[in-house]
Amino acid sequence: MSPETGRDSASDGKAYWAANVRIIKISLIIWALVSFGFGILLRPLISGIQVGGSDLGFWFAQQGSILVFLAIIFFYAWKMNKLDREFGVEEE
């Protein structure tokens, strides 16, 4: 490997990792928002929204947060597997 391509792949590696960390940060913000946010701390704020005999916060605490967690993990897997190919770091 020439020194030049060595530098390129190093900066590519940095960009790949930075993109990964950014996706993780966004995902974890949503993760916290639906569970600690809507499910617990923000529940009083959204208690006006009725969901079958209770309120939206109760729904998030017992159903909604789990469904969003699922969506986050599958989104992350899809996005990262795509990112691997874009940066050429996928497995052979």
Binding site: G13, Y16, W17, N20, V21, I24, S27, L28, W31, S35, F36, G39, I40, L41, R43, V51, G52, G53, S54, D55, F58, W59, A61, Q62, Q63, S65, I66, L67, F69, L70, I72, I73, F74, Y76, A77, M80, N81, D84, G88, V89, E90, E91, E92
Partner: protein
């Protein structure tokens, strides 16, 4: 056919399947024993992870915990599923890329420190052993109730079955047995829930029925439930009654603890590629969510059913009579469970009726005085029986009860096997090969792994037969340790350049502080009376010892960063290791050179 024969058929058939898999999936190499040859399909691994993760606690206890507390115990639902997001995003793909066999091995290599590896092994063994006690007692309970054998015999039968597939099959045998166990346990959990949801709400999906209409009253189910429990002096079901700080910290501790439990993490070593590890975490949560989305419905509907059975004419009319409990077949479940000692009632005021209400509530004390009641007469109700008794309470056909018996055993056995595997690989791979006898041959290591597994099963069985007094407290301990020691150090190993001294100091600080806090509140080594504080009046800012794992994790991070900053940076080969863990390319090679 009587109920006993039906139960025997269901349990016998499921055990025959597990034994069949054991014979088919024998492990021939250490790679097969520790990581199922890294050839497990991500969906298959997801299913096995779900069975591994969902223990006797998830299957038997969780719905009961929610049923009798309501909203505040949503912490279990969010905590035990939210941890998978952390696992999928922060740990699983990178640890798979690292491509070794145990969690402690990663910690030892990344922090170039046998001490770090040893501390990790100790945490891992304490976590897994405390956890396995609960599974073994669960096996005993399920056998005792459904097969009319005593606890000891039941436990020994369970131990022999686990021995058969775990000792010979290792991770390979355990993986495929767990797939079968998942299918048994999820059918057992959801089928009765679907029946009950249909009976009460007309909706076949329990998670939707929970927010549907109670057909009998025409009101929304949760509103009806809130109404009848508050009329009996209990807390409103959907309301937030505890304190918010502990709810947040407890949920966070369960999440971090889940992501740090070694027996779950090591399942992600079995898939062929990094991309598969990412998908597999998603599939694991799909299979887990099927139960976790159903559990709150099971809890709420059972609470409604039970309360209405005790007040058949409404909460302001006469309570159920002793005569009706004895003669009406709807109440047969009460006699069945009374025999196990987990359910009990007593007509305190001698009026021939059984009043079930909250006798600590001032409003109810007023009503009790007016009506001549002398306290709550349903004086013993073990919450753990809720799931097992649920089909009987709802008068479901007897084959459903047989299925529940097989399902409860599947949940306990699958988790026990996963934990035993984590223990045996820690002993044979980290202690024997890693520290004591590094030159051991592969054949020798495989043999020592099998011996370690057999010893672990014997110890777990003994502890199951003689459960220490603190068995009930161990969940807090296992999650506290995993959250405060294992998760932070793994995350820092991947996402930061923290050095060996930082990692060891952080792990020890998190671990010891969490242990200290738990012991101060629960008693030293859980010996009653040696505690200085209680969870009702905790030491720091009202934080309960069960919620402390998250604080321990924070301390671990903080100490590790501080120590690492003031000591020598990591050497360049470790820098390369961190870089290589971060990109997927080359994962196959990492597996092959082992």
């Amino acid at each position: 056919m009587d109920q006993f024969t039906i139960n025997l058929l269901f349990v016998g058939a499921s055990f025959a399947i597990y034994i069949g898999i054991a014979i088919w999936a024998r492990a021939g190499s250490t790679s097969e024993f520790y990581a199922a040859g890294r050839g497990v399909h991500p969906v298959t691994n997801g299913m096995a992870t779900a069975a591994d993760w969902m223990s006797a606690a998830s299957f038997l206890s969780m719905a009961g915990l929610i049923a009798f507390v309501g909203y505040d115990n949503s912490a279990f639902l969010m905590g035990w599923t939210g941890g998978y997001v952390l696992l999928a995003l922060l740990l699983a793909p990178y640890l798979r890329k690292f491509g070794k066999f145990t969690v402690s091995e990663f910690i030892g290599d990344r922090f170039y420190s046998p001490t770090a590896r040893l501390v990790a092994v100790i945490c891992l063994i304490i976590c897994s052993v405390t956890y396995v006690i609960g599974q073994m007692t669960g096996v005993g309970v399920a056998f005792g109730r459904f097969l009319e054998v005593d606890n000891t015999t039941g436990l020994l039968i369970g131990a022999v079955i686990v021995f058969a597939y775990a000792v010979f099959g290792g991770m390979k045998g355990v993986t495929y047995t767990q797939v079968a166990q998942y299918i048994v346990l999820i059918l057992a959990y959801t089928i009765p829930a679907i029946f009950i949801s249909l009976q009460l709400t007309g909706n076949p999906i329990p998670g939707l029925g929970l927010f549907g209409t109670d057909l009998a009253s025409g009101e929304p189910l949760l509103q009806k439930l809130d109404q009848i429990v508050t009329e009996l002096g209990f807390n409103q079901y959907t309301a937030h009654n505890g304190d918010t700080l502990n709810l947040v910290l407890f949920t966070l501790s369960l999440m971090i603890g889940t992501a740090g439990l070694p027996h779950v993490i090591m399942r992600f070593f079995t898939v062929p590629r990094v991309a598969d590890a990412r998908w597999s975490a998603g599939w694991a949560l799909v299979f887990i969510a099927l139960l976790y989305l159903t559990a709150p419905a099971v809890g709420a509907m059972a609470r409604l059913n039970i309360t209405q059975q005790f007040w058949p004419n409404g909460t302001d009319a006469q309570a159920v009579s002793l005569e009706q409990i004895e003669t009406d077949p709807t109440y047969d479940w009460m006699a069945t469970w009374q025999q196990t000692g987990m359910l009990g009632w007593e007509d305190l005021n001698g009026d021939g009726l059984i009043q079930y209400y909250n006798d600590a509530s001032p409003d109810m004390q007023e009503r009790a005085a007016a009506e001549g009641w002398e306290g709550n007469e349903l004086n013993n109700f073990n919450r753990d029986i809720l799931v097992l008794a649920n089909p009987e309470i709802a008068n479901l056909p007897s084959w459903v009860i047989g299925l529940i018996a097989a399902g409860g055993l599947a949940a306990a056995l699958s988790t026990a096997a996963g934990l035993l595997l984590a223990i045996s690989s820690a002993v044979s791979h980290d202690l024997m090969k890693g520290q004591l006898t590094p030159n051991i041959s592969e054949k020798g290591e495989l043999l020592s792994a099998r011996i370690a597994m057999a010893v672990a099963i014997a110890v777990a069985t003994w502890l199951g037969l003689n459960p220490p007094g603190f068995a009930a407290q161990t969940v807090a301990l296992a999650f506290g340790l995993a959250a405060s020691s294992i998760f932070p150090v793994l995350m820092m190993g991947i996402f930061t350049k923290v050095n060996n001294k930082g990692a060891v100091a952080g792990m020890l600080a998190g671990l010891l502080l969490t242990l200290l806090y738990i012991f101060l509140h629960k008693g030293w080594f859980f010996i009653p009376g040696t505690n200085s504080f209680t969870d009702a009046e905790p030491l720091l800012f009202g934080i309960k010892s069960t919620s402390f794992g998250a604080i321990g994790a924070l301390v671990n991070f903080a100490v590790a960063f501080a120590v690492s900053k003031s000591t020598t940076p990591i050497p360049s080969d470790i820098e390369d290791l961190v870089e290589s863990v971060r990109i997927p390319r080359g994962a196959g090679a990492a597996a092959a050179d082992h």
